[in-house]
Structure formats: C-alpha cells, structure tokens
C-alpha cells in the first residue's frame, strides 16, 4: 500500500504548522507523478462583515464546482477494514461498506462552509486492480469551515464492479456538483466522473499522507470514534465530545 503514495514531506505536520506552510508556499503537492495543481487560498473565515455588525464569520459564496481551483489537498490517508459492514448514507443505493480509506483533506473554505442548500459532493476516484476506474461518494464527518480540515472516509462499496480491489493508484479527490449525497447513485457518479475529466481534474494533491497497513475496525462505531479523534486534532472547533459542556463556537461569535 505504501508504494502507492509519493510523499512530498517526510514528516507529519501539526495543523497550525501546516497552515503556515500552505500560506507561505501556496504549493500543492501531487500524487503519482502527475502535474502539480495550484491550491486555492483559504479565505479567512473569521472575518466579520462590519457592514452588518454581526459577529459571526461570513458565509462565503459557493464557487462553481467541479473545478481544478477547488481541488482539496490530501493531508492523510489511512486504509481501513471494517469487520461489520454498514450501509452508507452517502449513496442512494445504501451499499454495504466493509473497507475504505480514512482521509483528512484541507480545502477551500468557500466549499467547506456548511450550507443548508446543496453542498458540492466530495468525490474520489482511482483505479481498481483490474485497471477499471472507480468513483465513490466520500463520506465526511465534519465540515472544516473554520479549521480548513475535513475528516472523510472513502468507502469501498463491495457491490461495485471494481470495489473489491480498489487501490489509490491514480487517486483523485475533488468537489463535484452540489447535490445531497443521499440522492446520488452509480449513474450520477459516472456523470460526475465525466464532469471531472472535462474540468481537468486529473490527480490528487497531497502534502503528506500516512500510508500503512489497513487499520482494522470492528464496525462503523469504531470508524466514527477514529474519525472523531482526527476531528479533535484537525478541527477542534467541531469536536462533539460528549464530555464538553461548552459549545464549540468560533471564538468571535
């Protein structure tokens, strides 16, 4: 598995350090030798709208997707095996999921901002062991608007033709068209794949990914627990730790 990912950096960066790195360099890294893609600057989500005297962070306008300008950066990628499969809510077919990749991405805050209306689908595509191209609707556990980091899971749905032997070879992760994930089926995903091709989204970008042997989890509960640990690390404002008595709020709200 580890050979699938080319690591740009040999160290794992703390969130704050990574932020600084991104701001300073604005350089995206690439996977598997594909060309580098410019990484959009993260707007300051905490900036007030002084004209309205509302202390909350402003809701940015949603940029058009899919677009190479909004492709997120992969921060970490962890293969996972789940002993007790579960039905994903991010596909209308609700396929059973028994493996996949736990992933942290850093993205454009304009896209990561939570919205009531349809948000861009988070999509991943790669190559199966048989050479076929797979595409999946990525689950996510937090939005990442304030922190810039989103904790996700690329499910490997066993029923898909290439599902059993999916690899990260040729991995692409991008934001597709705005839709409710629960409304997306295989046909819609194929359409999204074509749109991504048309938009020129040809590769993933990564700073540092941790690739190791698959982590074995008992069930989705453990997957959530693992994801929550990542949220606490990367997006603490969205931590929903049950022991907390203080709502996670932007500092200036």
């Amino acid at each position: 598995m580890s050979s699938e990912i080319i690591q740009m950096k040999n160290e794992t960066m703390a969130p704050k350090k990574l932020n600084n790195f991104l701001t300073a360099n604005m350089i995206a890294c690439c996977i598997a030798g594909t060309s580098a893609i410019a990484f959009a600057q993260v707007a300051n989500p905490a900036q007030n709208n002084p004209a309205q005297n509302n202390p909350g962070p402003a809701l940015p306008a949603l940029p058009a997707t899919p677009s190479i300008d909004t492709v997120p950066m992969i921060v970490s990628l962890q293969p996972v095996t789940i002993k007790e499969s579960y039905a994903t809510d991010f596909r209308s077919e609700h396929q059973q999921v028994s493996s996949g990749w736990l992933m942290v991405i850093r993205g454009d805050s304009r896209i990561l901002a939570p919205r009531a209306l349809a948000e861009p689908l988070l999509l991943a595509s790669g190559t199966g062991a048989d050479g076929s191209v797979w595409i999946e609707s990525v689950e996510w556990f937090n939005h990442g608007f304030i922190s810039g980091y989103r904790v996700c899971f690329i499910p490997s749905t066993a029923q898909e033709k290439s599902g059993a032997d999916r690899t990260t070879q040729g991995l692409r992760v991008w934001f597709g068209s705005p839709k409710l994930p629960e409304s997306v089926d295989a046909k819609a995903l194929q359409s999204e794949l074509k749109e991504a091709d048309r938009a020129g989204i040809v590769a993933a970008i990564a700073v540092k990914v941790e690739v190791s042997a698959p982590k074995v989890l008992a069930n989705r509960d453990e997957l959530v627990t693992t994801a929550n640990a990542l949220i606490t690390r990367w997006a603490p404002d969205e931590s929903q730790d049950g022991a907390s008595t203080v709502p996670a709020v932007p500092a200036n709200k």
């Binding site: 989500p45 007030n48 709208n49 004209a51 309205q52 005297n53 509302n54 202390p55 909350g56 962070p57 402003a58 809701l59 579960y86 809510d89 991010f90 901002a113 939570p114 919205r115 009531a116 209306l117 349809a118 948000e119 996510w140 556990f141 939005h143 608007f145 409710l180 994930p181 629960e182 409304s183 069930n219 989705r220 509960d221 997957l223 959530v224 994801a227 929550n228 969205e238 929903q240 049950g242 022991a243 907390s244 008595t245 709502p247 996670a248 709020v249 932007p250 709200k253």
Partner: protein, 726 residues
C-alpha cells in the same frame, strides 16, 4: 351608629326636600321587589326595612332611611323594561381612533393598559345608568353556574356610567389593569372574566354582561413569552442515545429541576441544521424547560440529506423515551409525557422533522415508543425543501414556520425551490401559522453559525433579536397546541402594534399568517383551489371585479428572477413548487376598485362565526408597490339579503399589508418575496353602532381598494378568503 330611626313624618319631609344625588340602582332603580314598577309595594319594603339595611337601601349607604325614600319617590311610577338575560359579549379591547372604535381581543401583555368597551347598539344599556364592572378570576361555564357571586380581583368593583354617543363614548379604562397579574404558574398568563353587573347586586344575574362566561377567559394577561419561565432548569450536557446512527448518538437534555414533583412533562425535540451542532440551541432548550417541558437537542445526520436527518430525529425521540430511566441518573424517569411531543427543526433539520412526520404518516417508518398521533406540533425554522410535496409534507400536523427575511442560505431565491420555506407551510392542511422575521438571517436562530445576512444595512436584528422571536412564538405555539392555552393563539396572528412580546424589539417587523384547518369553524368563500376561473369562487359563488391584471394561478414565480414582468404575474411568490397545487390570485389598482364574491345561501349564515379574514401580501417590485412604498390598506364590505352594506377598513384596525422587505438581488429592483399576512376583521365590528346588518343572511363579501377604501395604488396577492371562528 348604625340604627337611626326616624318618624314617618320626618321621612316624608325629607323626601319632599331637595333631591339627593344617588347612583342609579342597576337596570331598574327603585324597583325593590322586582315587579318592574316603582310603586307602593316598593314603598312598603322601604318602610318595613326602615332603620335597617338590605335591598331597600337604594343609595347603598348601609341604611334604609330617608335618603332611600327620597330616591324612591323620585322614581315613583316608573315602569321598567323586562330584565334581559345575561349576555355573553366581548368587552376587552384596545381602542381605535376611528370606527369601529374598539378592537375586541382577549390577550394583553402584563403591565399594559386594558380597556373595555360596550356597544349600545348591541346591548340594552341605558344612557345615564351606572353599573359595576368586575374583573373576576376566570371561571368555567360550570363554575359560573355553581357560583354567581362576583368577587373583583382588584378588591372592589369599578362603577361605570353609560353615555350617549355610541361605542366610542362607552370605552372604559380598566382601573388597575396594568397591575393585573399574569402569573399563571406554568401557564404563560392568567385568565379573568369580565362582568358588567347591571343591577349592581354583586351577583352575575339577569341583565348582566359577561366576557368569558363560557370556558374561555374573557381577558388573558400574559407574561412576556420571551422571558424565562418559573422553573429552575437542569442541563445534562450530553448523553448517548442508544440505537441512533453511529456518529449521531449525542444529545443535550434540559428539564425542570423539580421534575420529580411534577406531572409528566411534554417532550420537545430539537433537530439542528447542516453544519450546526446540537449544542447550539441552549437558548431555546433552557427557555422551554423553564416553562415545564423536557427538551432534547440531538446530533443530526444532515450531511447526506433530509432522509438521514429525519432518521436521527425519529431515533432520538424513541431513545429518550426508552432511556428515561437511566439518562440523567433517572431524574426524568416516568416524567416524559410521550403522548405530547413537539418537534423543532432548523434548516435541513426543519425539513427533516417534516420528512420524519411524513414517513410515519406514509407508514414507511414505524417508531417505537410513540406514534403519529403523539406528535402534536411541528415547528420548522428556515427549512429547506429538497424533497418536495410527496416526501416533505406536514399533512394535518399543527405546523409553524419561522423564517428570516435576511436569510442568505435558505434565501428564498426564485432560482431554486430548495431555498424556499413557505411551500412547506402551504402544504399543511392542519393548523398552520408562519412568522416571517425581517432582519433575521439563517443562523441568527442558533448561537454560532455563519453570518449569512443579506439585507438592507441597518435592518439586521442579530441573534438576540431573532432568538427572542423564536422563544416567544415557539412557546406560544407549544402552549396553544400542547397545553390548550387558547389565549396564546392571538400571539400567532395579531400585529405587533397591538400584541408584542416584551422581549421582541418594537421595531422588528413580524409578518404573520394563521390558517386554520378546514372544519366547522371555517366557512371558506374562496381558496382559489377547486375553481380555476376568476369569475367563480371555490364555494361556487359568482365573482365580479373591477381590478386590473387579475390572475389566478399557481403561487409560483416562473421566471427565476424577482424583476417585475407582466409575463410573470405571480412574481415573488415562492409558495408552490411545480409539483404543488397551491393557487392564489394577484391584481393591481390605481383607483377605487373592488372584487366581490357572492356568498351562497348555504354559507350565508355567519352569525356564529367571529371573523372575516384573508391572507394578503403586496406584489414585490411591482411598479404600484414601488410607488406605494409603504403599508397597503383596504376595506372589506359585507352585504346582507336586505341590501344593508357595512364597510370596515383595515386601517381602522391599525392593520396594513406591509411593504416587502427591501432586499435586493435576483434581478433588478428592491423587495424580496411576496409576504402574506392574515388580516382578520371581527364580524361584530360590522354591527358596531347598530348598523342592522344581518349576519345570518350575508350574500356578498367585497374587498375594496383605492378611493376612501384604502391605498390609492398597489398590487395584492390574496388567498383564503373565509369566515372563521375564534
């Protein structure tokens, strides 16, 4: 000294001297024995009671003496009218400058002035007569039957003397009205019955007038519903719901601290929106718990969509019922009244609760621990509409919509029906009301969301303003639907100018609709549904009009822009997706015009109804609306079978159809979506001053605009012209 015997000669001498000034003794002063004549029999009673006290004490000074004899002689020979039965009549009101001079209502905020008015045209009061006005603790019909003794909560009755000059001359400020208590324990207010004791006998008896002689209180003094309730609240920061979707198992709990000593409390479930946290609704959870509810706010699986959101709401509701013995160390065990459930949802959660209700309704989901009939009230705050009429439908549930006009997320843009909220409300066939809040954005209804405000500078009401509205109206809705506090209903339709929760800033514009479900309490003249012709109403009556550009169609903006276009007559209406069926009419005017509906004989007896009402809004960005640039007024005319016509103006009631929120975007011009509000005119106002109109034989209803009837120009969107009961 109490006993003052006098000789008969002295008595007669006194009686022949200068008249003493005494108050009239009820409806027939001097008629001591009640035979409707002032004669020798009454004199005999005076003499037989001489030196004592009792009914012959005509001047109420505690003695039967010469002064009483003087009164008797001054009235000698008078023939009195037969006593009237007691009369149930509205008395509590706020005064109006113009006819009908009083708007009769039930609910007042504690600390405000209370007024009563008596209409000489509808009662048998005699000019110059004095009666005693009582404010009595509210009684039921049965309680009045069992106890007719009048006990004024103010300590003493208030004498009132009737004057000539109609209702405007017979309005009385309730002495001490500002100090009437609104403390009703867990009730938001306290009820009183109002009695005018015509014969001043201290009892509710023949000839007396009463407001509240039935089970309804005549007067309701309400505390501020934005204020914290009487109960201390305990908060459990979080607990884990067993059986909820992994990752969405946490919930926060609020309950009255002394719940152990209380009867089981209704359950309130709060479902947050997308990207929100269950911890963001403390303001609402604590508020409702302080008024006697057990409240949870749960993690909500909103990212995948509405179906998943609804699932978590369904699961968490079951979970708290099932886990009450263990959650909070069993503090709420046995204290959840699962037969009275309220679901509140925000944003996607607002649609999610409707979807959850719909799933139970469609029998595609069977919850444990509760059922459809146990969900008494749905409240959606700024909900999305992803799923449409077949999947997100509140059906016959009691439904409330709160929505901010400055919402930058579920914005009401005409380009996408997902961003519409009113269409969810329009689908409801139950009791529904809406409160459209100018200056509130999407996340003003939680503590910590993004600032999505879009609106004119200086109009933002921010979190505090919007949350005050939410606290007040959600509490009012719950108390009305869950507890049967009927007086809280007035909060749902009366304009802020006459009934405003104290904590809601006076400058906040609230546009309210109330639509009762079809029932015997509604006589619909036109709902614009079953007849598509503009010359035929849904009740089968002929419709005539002189208005311009009349259009009856789906209440839907069809060109995805708010720019006014004659090709899109329902511009600004976002109340029906292409799959919905809600229709309305639209028309405009630049001079005196009208639209008249013939009322079939089968509907013409409205004597048992209370209101004529209509939902009406201004057509956004229409040139006439722009020209008017303010509230629009109109009049409603009723005509009976004898040809008597009576006109009541909305402006006389202080009512106007507000100018649309002056938001820009989605095309050229200023003004956002069409905002409908319910305007209700009390049918009694059409009888005010003795017009003689026969409400049992109404043959036509007419809406008039322009000229003396209302605003000189404008464009209206109208729906649901109907007679309704209280």
């Amino acid at each position: 000294m109490r006993y003052r015997p006098l000789s008969l000669q002295v008595v007669i001498a006194l009686a022949s001297s200068a008249m003493l000034s005494v108050a009239a003794h009820g409806a027939c002063p001097g008629d001591i024995n009640g035979d409707l004549r002032v004669d020798a029999a009454d004199l005999s009673m005076v003499l037989s009671n001489w030196g004592g006290s009792g009914t012959a004490d005509l001047n109420s000074d505690g003695f039967v003496d010469g002064a009483d004899l003087t009164v008797l002689i001054s009235l000698w020979g008078q023939v009195c009218p037969p006593p009237q039965p007691t009369m149930e009549i509205r008395l509590a009101c706020f005064p109006l400058t113009d006819a009908p001079y009083a708007s009769f209502v039930q609910t007042f905020i504690a600390g405000t002035t209370v007024t009563i008015a008596v209409d000489p045209g509808l009662t048998s009061i005699q000019v110059g007569a004095t009666a005693d006005f009582f404010v009595v603790a509210a009684r039921t019909t049965a309680q009045w039957a069992a106890n007719d003794l009048l006990t004024d909560v103010r300590g003493a009755a208030q004498p009132i003397t009737f004057a000539s000059g109609g209702i405007s001359a017979n309005r009385f400020t309730v002495t001490g009205g500002e100090t009437l208590s609104g403390d009703g324990g867990l009730s938001v207010g306290r009820g009183y019955d109002l009695v005018i004791d015509m014969d001043r006998n201290g009892r509710f008896s023949l000839g007396d007038l009463i407001d509240g002689g039935d089970d309804r209180a005549g007067l309701w003094i309400s505390r501020d519903p934005t204020a914290t309730g009487p109960l201390a609240v305990t908060t459990l920061s979080s607990y884990t719901a067993v059986g909820a979707t992994a990752g969405f198992t946490l919930a926060r709990l609020w309950y009255p601290t002394n719940v152990a000593s209380m009867a089981p409390c209704p359950l309130v479930v709060i479902s947050h929106g997308n990207g929100h946290l269950y911890t963001w609704y403390d303001y609402l959870g604590a508020h409702l718990a302080s008024w006697g509810y057990i409240v949870i706010s749960h993690q909500n699986n909103t990212v995948p969509g509405i179906e998943t959101s609804s699932t978590t709401t369904l699961q968490h509701t079951s979970a708290i019922i099932a886990q009450q013995a263990t959650v909070a160390s069993g503090a709420i065990n046995g204290k959840i009244d699962a037969s009275r459930i309220t679901w509140i949802g925000h944003s996607r959660g607002g649609e999610g609760i409707v979807r959850g209700y719909d799933r139970i309704f469609d029998a595609t989901y069977t919850p444990t621990g509760y059922g459809l009939s146990n969900i008494k009230f749905l409240c959606s705050i700024s909900p999305t509409d992803f799923l449409g009429v077949n999947s997100s439908n509140p059906h016959a549930a009691n439904f409330m919509l709160l929505w901010g006009a400055a919402d930058g997320d579920v914005s009401g843009t005409p380009t996408s029906s997902v961003a519409w909220s009113f269409d969810l409300a329009e689908r409801s066939v139950g009791f529904r009301n809406t409160v459209y809040v100018h200056g509130a954005d999407h996340n003003d209804f939680n503590c910590c969301g993004t600032n999505d405000f879009v609106g004119p500078t200086g109009t933002a009401i921010l979190n505090a303003g919007a949350q005050a509205v939410a606290k007040a109206f959600i509490l009012a809705g719950i108390k009305y639907h869950i507890e049967g506090e009927t007086a809280m209903k007035e909060f749902l339709w009366r304009p802020s100018s006459t009934l405003r929760p104290t904590g809601v800033v006076a400058t906040t514009t609230l546009v309210k609709e109330l639509v009762p479900p079809a029932s015997s309490s509604v006589k619909s003249i036109d709902n614009f549904q079953t007849q598509t012709s503009t010359t035929l109403s849904s009740c089968g009556g002929t419709v005539t009009s002189t208005v311009a550009n009349l259009s009856e169609a789906l209440s839907r903006d069809t060109d995805a822009t708010y720019t006014w276009s004659t090709a899109n007559p329902h511009n600004g209406s976002i109340r029906a997706t292409a799959s919905d069926t809600g229709r309305m009419i639209a028309w405009d005017w630049n001079s005196a015009q009208n639209m008249e509906w013939a009322v079939p004989v089968s509907l013409g007896d409205v004597s048992a109804m209370d209101f004529i009402e209509v939902r009406v809004g201004q057509g956004t960005r229409h040139p006439n609306t722009v020209t008017l640039n303010g509230g629009a007024t109109f009049s409603i005319v009723l005509r009976d079978a004898a040809g008597i016509e009576v006109r009541v103006s909305s402006s006389a009631q202080g009512e106007a159809v507000n100018r649309p929120y002056q938001r820009t975007g989605d095309g050229t011009g200023t003004g956002w979506q069409n905002e409908l509000r319910t305007i209700r005119l009390r049918l009694r106002d059409f009888q005010s001053g003795g017009t003689g109109i026969n409400l049992a034989q109404i043959v036509a209803v007419r809406i008039e605009v322009g000229g003396t009837a209302g605003s000189a120009t404008g464009r209206f969107i109208l729906d649901d012209l109907q007679f309704t009961k209280e």
